[in-house]
């Protein structure tokens, strides 16, 4: 899976939680989950669980800690996929 495909897949995962639909529509790697998409912090864990299910990876606490924007999320998923 290349980076564009991965970003698209992540964008789909995030969609139900993004209160700002316009910012979600225009999502880039620089998009911040909370500041830009107005995702409720309680839903960040849902995104982490969805990523685990959809990509069949395990996200530990140290990775989850940094998962506040698209770019970091992609980098974490890429690292996990490469290690499989």
């Amino acid at each position: 899976m290349n980076r564009t495909e991965l970003t698209e897949k992540l964008k789909e995962i995030i969609k139900p939680y993004a209160a700002n639909t316009e910012a979600h529509e225009n999502l880039t790697e620089e998009t911040d989950f909370i500041k830009d998409l107005n995702i409720n912090s309680a839903n960040l864990v849902d995104i982490v669980l969805d990523i685990e299910e959809k990509f069949d990876v395990v996200i530990d606490n140290a990775d989850m800690e940094r998962m506040l924007d698209v770019k970091t999320a992609i980098e974490i998923i890429e690292t996990k996929l490469a290690a499989k």
Binding site: A42, V45, D46, V48, N61, M64, L68
Partner: protein, 167 residues
């Protein structure tokens, strides 16, 4: 310093499925998981502990400027709890915060402070006609005059917005 967090229970029922597989294990320490399991209303305990973590995180973020999603680093303990009010502590690394939570059938609201005695010193305010500014980290302050700024914490969820500061 001060932090606060409100959970609108009607809103959380719409947007969060706290009983989802794996969710509790990601957000809460094993000791906190036991509190949730053993409480007669697990939903209330989930959002009580969550609002304690969020309120404490707001002080941690104000102190350190660190932004992170690290719910298990904010470790909650309860000193007293009844149907309407809870007092507790949240520790995060070397920091310790004291919390007071008011529980109603509609919402759960926690205020966190650094010094236990400050819990009696907080006040909810109306932001109308008030000037609130944010620094480069997004941390809010209440402007009293051109040179005086007070710590303020803002939380909104669903139907509610709570703004708290010191008296």
């Amino acid at each position: 310093m001060i932090g606060n967090d409100i959970v609108d229970l009607a809103q959380s029922r719409l947007e969060s499925r706290w009983s989802r597989k794996g969710l509790i294990e990601k957000l809460f320490t094993p000791t906190e998981q036991q509190l949730i399991k053993n409480h007669n209303d697990s939903e209330i305990m989930v959002w009580l502990l969550w609002s304690m973590k969020e309120a404490a995180y707001k002080i941690y973020n104000r102190q350190t400027k660190i932004r992170e999603f690290s719910p298990q680093k904010l470790i909650c303990s309860l000193n007293s709890l009844n149907d309407t009010i809870a007092f507790g502590e949240v520790s995060c690394l070397q920091n310790k915060y004291y919390t007071k939570t008011v529980i109603t059938t509609e919402n759960i609201h926690t205020i966190a402070v650094n010094d236990f005695n400050d819990l009696n010193n907080t006040i909810e305010i109306d932001v109308k006609n008030k000037q609130i500014i944010k620094d480069q980290f997004g941390i809010p302050y209440l402007k009293i005059s051109s040179s005086i700024f007070k710590d303020i914490s803002i939380s909104h969820h669903g139907r509610y917005e709570k703004v708290v500061t010191f008296q």
